[in-house]
Symmetry: D2
Subunit: 337 residues, 4 copies
């Protein structure tokens, strides 16, 4: 439920409304929309009737929320958000392409990739320093050493960097180096991590869990926004189904569904969705055509030697070709890349 | 396994190869490719070694098949097939758009729809006369009366028609009226129906079952081709997953995967995939961008009064707008609509 | 909606109620329950209000249906049904075990199996003469020859037989030989086949589709009952999920859910559910404990030579051991085997 | 790969083998099995050939591992493990029943439940103090206050306690109060948490993710064991499928599959698997019959007032009835409860 405050209401009037909410066990979230004060009521409001607030001095209007989520919903904010990452906007007219290796492996590997993806038109660099791996015996990333290499690559190329964070206590460390924190699919419902990312105020790239409904994804974003961090970008990266040909099943329809439900930008990860380099370009074209606000693509100078995700990584040459194809599609949806 | 026959081999040589195959319990399928005779061995060939045929007079080359399917595979035919339906090609440079109501309900409803979708650029008319319905108490279609209305609509508009057939014994009846037989998702593994469609020589639109793997889809197509009917178009129409927002989950990646495995044309059904009229246009753009050879879309003059599938049906106006959007995307993949 | 007729109402009163229903486009189904006449209204009754029938002479009570299905529901018939197959009851105190080979392959194979499963306690013999196969090149069954072998095995052992029917036009043929018609998972929504089985009055074993919800299974059963054939047994045989270790995922919870929704007996197929002989006994114990009314199990004298489903077939020895285990569990749920 | 050391080999011989492994980039894990020293090689051993270690002094035998996991596999330890939780064994002849409320809500609620479940035969008390919730606005648990109430309930009833831990930094806090750490389904691949639990040496109850394969579950357990903590119990709690009637789909077959692959005990959670109190007893019987080593069941004195999971919580009376039913089944599988 959202309470619109009358223009010109006194601070005392506003405080009274807030106090009433608190006395009912609800939290409040205050925001400004076009010069108007909105109080969003948070907590168990299922049984709450608007009459409690009706007629209070200062209350202009009481808006029920159509969706179960609040701050992420288009009820709360009708215009689409633009999230700025190190100067690069995600969610605007230009489709943002994020590219880079699955894992940071060496300075040489990272710099080569960064230079070539920049040249091809990528605007943000990705690379994992902390890697979630199914087996404890797989390569789990270079840790802080990898973060330093990422920062050095930014220094040289000017590309802002996004990298994964896997534990609440790593958020300060990763935030020191990264322009954007990635929360991976396996951690989409790691609520302590969501809380920590929410408190950090860094832009967050939140990937849909492979088993998560869109409603669950939006609730996880709500965790981050509820701490005051509104810089969240959602990422569809494929869900788990019975079909074995592709690594996951890209839910392309998720993009327009999410854009109808939330004001947050929505990007697509064709690399994890397909798991096969041969399929990445076609699916990237589809993502642009469906209206995605960005792409995140794995690129490796030598995919066959990658320490992780080699089969789905593109060579720089193939990535450049993909960018050409994607650029042809963008004008059809009124965008550029 | 495919045996390439030497140019100039005698019929006796060929017959000997065929006889040897039969003596091993295998069926054979003979085809011509660019003037060369190919004998495809069908049956349980898992344990068969090529040595049995090596050195026979007339045998030029023995080709193992990489895929478990045969006649549908690109091993068997490298070039993409074009299936012609009442003069309209599916699989060529022009993307074929099939449109019309879910069910034929009346002459008025059908003709109105046919005229408006034709005007907007649809090239084939769809409409169900025999309807598969979950409940026995739902409207199950007009039967032959509906087929007659479809034929009359073709008469007036010139659009060829595609309509569903649900039982082997209906194949002759439906074939008398239709230009293309549709086998629906629920009947994708109705093997007796596949056999009957294979024997009919009519073009067949084979829809993927909602929980069928791509391999199973290709095997079902193989049933049809194995009877000598090569006029098969595959249709991705969404699979069943845990996600409730959309009616099904469109597996957009299925399009390039199938196009890599088979020479048959592949189209997309955004109406059943999404189940919601609001999502159909965005998903249609994605289907064109990913490389689909066609679209099949439900259109109804008054969706809110439709006897089935109303929520996913477009008005003629929205369909016309969709065509405008799809036409903008097509050139990006070197196609027209 | 069900209309209870007053005791002692005249036939004219009853006919008037029926006529009113027909005038509203509804079908009617009349039954007797404990000496009382019930008229079940079938068709599109979503928008129907009971007031139309209230106050008519002869109407004792109007019962809304809680479930979307009608004849299969426990609203319609509260007591659990017992379906009798060649003298063997399914649904009563004794758990019915159906056993036999996946496919009938030879007289020798079938008779050996029949004798041994009977000795171990099976009460019905299974065996496929018409086999649904993913690939057109796999063994598709012996056809009528297989039916004759089944009939001969019944002659010798006294076991009634259940065998699959795959097409509406085969129903008369299969009915001549079989005591029970099986409709397989792939044909659960082959509505023409359901209609044909409904008209036949033979007991029907209806298997849940690997992609079907329980509601869809009940609607498919409703097709059969709506033609007056109430002799339907439902079978849970595993659904398709992402888990690759087992062939399918047995939905054990489906048994108590179905038994709460319908009066029809519910059995379990541990062979198809697991796909591995090693797992069949454990899962059979679970099925008995959960309350299943029967089991259907694949047994083959030489599983490694079976023409289909070898990996999940038990040897007669293992089947006998399974029966010992299952018999130990049965008393815990007040049943015998 | 596992290297069996010769009886009587010197420490120098053993160190040499270990040094060779380290020089190849592998980690080693040393264990004793029946007086014999085993060195398990951990790391990327896919390409490793046994010849590297063959012939070294001290090496008795080199055992390839059939499964991709190591310490959890039955290759590594053939006998089934028994995990002891506050004196109560899980994995032995007696089936361990864990019961209690979803969330700790008050001293009164917890103590009432603890006393009644103990009386009915539960041997371990469950209760959540830190609750993973889809929405940030739901009740997220009492935190440390809840842990104190759990410890007090143990004090009074003697039941050991298991409770969920959601973040690596909470492991020390929760370990101070709990006898067993629960890692919930949403955190099954929270690898930092698995590491922290592995280092703690507390018994761990690891729940299968709702869309995790059994292989992934075993790899997550491997994370814990790889830190030297072998006290791990696995829990099947239902997976996410398309079927809406039950909250999740219990994969009952997972129990015998896991017991074939791993020596770790396997229990079942019928409450989360079904989501409905009406179904819990039937599914519990099935779990006992299939061979589960334990059950974990939600019990609440007033389910309709529970702050979470009310619909699936049993009253103490229904729980007592369930125990009676489960006890009848146990002897059929040679167990007691």
């Amino acid at each position: 439920m959202i309470i619109k405050i009358k223009p010109g209401a006194s601070q005392g009037d506003i405080d009274y409304v807030i106090g009433r909410a608190h006395s009912l066990g609800l939290d409040t979230h205050i925001s400004q929309d076009d010069g108007q004060t909105l109080i969003s009521l948070l907590g168990d409001i299922q049984t709450l009737t608007p009459t409690v607030f009706r007629g209070l001095r200062g209350v202009a209007q009481i808006l029920p929320l159509r969706s179960p989520f609040r701050l992420v919903s288009r009820d709360f904010q009708a215009e689409r958000s633009v999230v700025v990452v190190g100067g690069v906007p995600i969610g605007g007219e230009q489709i943002a392409v994020i590219a880079g290796p699955c894992a940071v492996e060496s300075q040489q590997q990272l710099l080569t990739t960064a230079r070539t993806v920049k040249e091809a038109g990528a605007r943000i660099l990705r690379g994992g320093a902390f890697k979630p791996r199914t087996s404890p015996y797989s390569f789990r990333g270079m840790g802080e050493e990898g973060l330093k290499l990422l920062a050095a690559a930014r220094e040289e190329t000017g590309l802002p960097i996004v990298t994964e964070v896997m534990a609440p206590e790593h958020v300060p460390l990763v935030s020191r180096y990264a322009d954007m924190l990635q929360i991976g699919a396996r951690n989409m419902q790691n609520f302590e991590l969501l809380d920590a990312a929410g408190k950090s105020q860094k832009p967050v790239l939140l990937k849909r869990g492979m088993m998560a409904t869109l409603e669950e994804l939006l609730f996880s974003a709500e965790y981050i926004l509820s701490h005051g961090n509104h810089h969240v970008v959602l990422c569809e990266r494929g869900i788990r189904t019975f079909e074995p040909y592709s690594r996951n099943t890209l839910d392309i329809t998720a993009v327009p569904i999410l854009q109808g439900l939330t004001h947050l930008p929505v990007i697509v990860d064709p690399s994890h969705a397909t798991g096969k380099a041969d399929l990445v370009a076609a699916v990237s074209r589809a993502a642009v055509a469906v209206g995605a606000d960005g792409l995140i693509i794995e690129v490796h100078p030598e995919p066959e030697r990658a320490l992780s995700d080699g089969p789905q990584s593109l060579t720089p040459q193939r990535f450049a070709a993909l960018m050409v194809e994607a650029r042809r599609v963008a004008p059809a949806v009124g965008r550029t890349i």
